[in-house]
Structure formats: structure tokens, C-alpha cells
Symmetry: C2
Subunit: 206 residues, 2 copies
């Protein structure tokens, strides 16, 4: 791509560095910004730079936060003795958006994956164990993606927690809403039969 303006070229190159954004999309976004009010563009660029400069990670749950303790850890209305273990911040946002969970989180920052060279030491597992030991945690809920790495992580952490008395659960795996039995993979279908739930529970939870 040949540009008649170095300012334009510069901005397009910066946008094209973002994941999933090619040069043509970058150009479209930049030309859109040029057409906007200077005020709007300023609020865009300042939102980005302020974010990077001021963003913090909650020292307790490692979630993204404006302060040293995030809104969730700081909220007395939430069950602080209940910890939901997730892989990343996106998962926190996904669960929060359901508005069905009233406990706190612990963001591992990844899952155990020897093939990718990620071991337990690179994750926030020690801080989770410390947190459970020092706080009066009653329940640990694993909300990890259902795959081998997720299961390995669950197994590793559960093993470490064996000496401690705590209820450990994982989110249910089964046929998704709107999914069809016919097209479900065998693993999912098998798990959904093994872990079947009483209709009484199903109706009251729904």
C-alpha cells in the first residue's frame, strides 16, 4: 500500500499491528477517524493511553482494576468466601454478564499447558492457595474451558488443596442451550449423562 501522507501511513501501520486487523481494515478505521470531530478522536486516543498508564491488576484476584483492589473484591455484598477460578479476564467479564454469580474470582492468567511451555509456576496458583489458606474460603468453583489443559489445571490445584477442608466444584458440562443432541460430540454427551441432574433441581434453578 502506497500512501501520499506519512501521518496516514503511520496511523494505518499502528492499527494494523492489532490482532485480526489487516492493512485494508486499518485504513478503513483510520479514514473513519479522520471524518470524526477532533474531540471524538481525542477521547478515543486518550482512553487508550490513560488505560495503559493507569490500569492496575487487583492484588487479590488479579482481575483488571482501577485500584489495587477491584470492585468485586471490594464489594461487601458479594460472597467473599466463594472463589471462582478462571483462566483470564475475558472469562470474568463473560460470567459477570450472566449476573448469576455473586462470589469473587481468581484469575490464573492461563492454564497449565506443557506443550506451550506453561507450567504451574507461571500461573497465579500459589497466590490462590495462599488466599484460600489466609481467608476463610468455603467454596472453590472452577470455570475453566472444558479441554485437557483445563482438566489438568483442575486436577493440579485440587491435589494441592487436599489437606485443606474446602468444597471444590466445577461448572457443569453438557449440551448447550439451543444445541442439538444429534450434533453434540460423544465426550460432551457422555459427560452430560454421567453428571445428570434431578429434574427437581433443574426446574428450580432455571
Amino acid at each position: 500500500m502506497i500512501f501520499s501522507s506519512s501521518l496516514l501511513e503511520n496511523a494505518v501501520n499502528e492499527f494494523a499491528k492489532l490482532p485480526g486487523i489487516g492493512k485494508k481494515t486499518a485504513l478503513r478505521l483510520v479514514l473513519h477517524l479522520i471524518k470524526q470531530d477532533e474531540k471524538e478522536v481525542h477521547s478515543f486516543s486518550s482512553a487508550v493511553s490513560t488505560l495503559r498508564q493507569e490500569i492496575k491488576f487487583c492484588t487479590r484476584c488479579h482481575n483488571i482494576s482501577d485500584k489495587t483492589l477491584c470492585n468485586i473484591c471490594n464489594n461487601p455484598m458479594r460472597k467473599q468466601e466463594m472463589i471462582c477460578v478462571v483462566e483470564n479476564i475475558r472469562d470474568v467479564i463473560a460470567i459477570e454478564s450472566t449476573q448469576q454469580f455473586n462470589g469473587t474470582y481468581h484469575v490464573l492468567g492461563g492454564i497449565i499447558s506443557p506443550l506451550d511451555g506453561i507450567g504451574p509456576d507461571q500461573l497465579q496458583i500459589d497466590s490462590l492457595i495462599d488466599r484460600i489458606k489466609t481467608e476463610n474460603t468455603k467454596e472453590l468453583i472452577f470455570a475453566l474451558n472444558p479441554n485437557v489443559q483445563g482438566d489438568t489445571t483442575i486436577y493440579y490445584i485440587s491435589k494441592k488443596l487436599q489437606p485443606i477442608e474446602i468444597k471444590i466444584t466445577t461448572i457443569a458440562r453438557g449440551i448447550a442451550f439451543g444445541g442439538e443432541l444429534e450434533y453434540a460430540d460423544e465426550m460432551t454427551l457422555a459427560k452430560s449423562i454421567t453428571n445428570r441432574i434431578s429434574v427437581q433441581n433443574y426446574i428450580t434453578s432455571g
Copy 2:
């Protein structure tokens, strides 16, 4: 989407204002930026704000430019007496990228489209006519998209230029490279037959 940080929410909302970017994509881009060095993020945000503040439009061809006259209009190596008329800046970049055109451009800023309420007055047509009258323009090449609005615009400008002696051409319409005759629409195929070119010309130009 529920966020635990207002800085994050703010940045996601700003990204989600861009065309073709939804909330989930915006979140992915923002989380990517958070992971980058502060320097990288600064160069991203400053490229955007500098662009909007300092960008100019060439007073002669209305192309995007760093100065009052763009690199192309300012380049004595280019044929200043040849003007290629295009709809927008994206088209300039597309033609420049072919490295086959050595003249100058004139960006109309749109095409005549009564249905969208765009008439000749809203476009840079008068400035084109003035430019042709004052400069010693020898050839005008229309590189507009092949549709009714494009053809209307070509017809309107050609009509206005009737008193002036100038060569007026349009880019060839026909079967694209890699396209298949079988799947070409009738209009394109018909035009490609009517405007057939001698094989001698075809070989020497290719």
C-alpha cells in the same frame, strides 16, 4: 457486558464506536493493548491524535496530505497534465499501489447519487473544471466504480467539459484477472465484447 474497571469499559466503548467493530472484538483489541509496552501504546494513541490534528487535504487534488500540496501534486516527475478522477482517497491508494499510473489525481469526495441526496454541488466537480481550465490538462481519466452513479458522474462531468478540448477516457471494464467468463454478469461480459481491444495492444500493455 459488565466491566470491573471503568478505564477498561471506557476504552472498549471507544473501540466499539469504530465501524465493523463490536463489543467483543473491541475487548480483544483493548486487552491486547494492555499487554503491550507502554511505549507501544503511546505510539498508537499519539499516531491517532496527531493524524486528526495535523492532517490536511491537498488544495489542488483534495487527496489526504501532510502539507497544503500533496506529494503527488508536488512531484515534478509525475505528469501534471494528466488527471485521474476518483471517488475517494481509498481509490487513490488502490491505484498508487499498482505503480502503473504516473499522472495526478482529483478526489471528488463521492459520486453523484440523487437517491442518497448527493448532487454535483457537494462534490469537488467545480474545482476540477477550474483546474482543467487554468492548468494545461491534456487527459482526464475516470476511475470510478462501474455502476449507475459512476456512469452518471462521468456523463455529467464530460458534458460540462464539452467546450474544452481535452482527451477524456475511462478505465477499462471487463472480465477481471482470475475471473471466469461463465460466472461474469451479462453487463460486464457485454461491455468486454463491445470494448474489445486488439491483441497487439493487449500483449504490449501486459
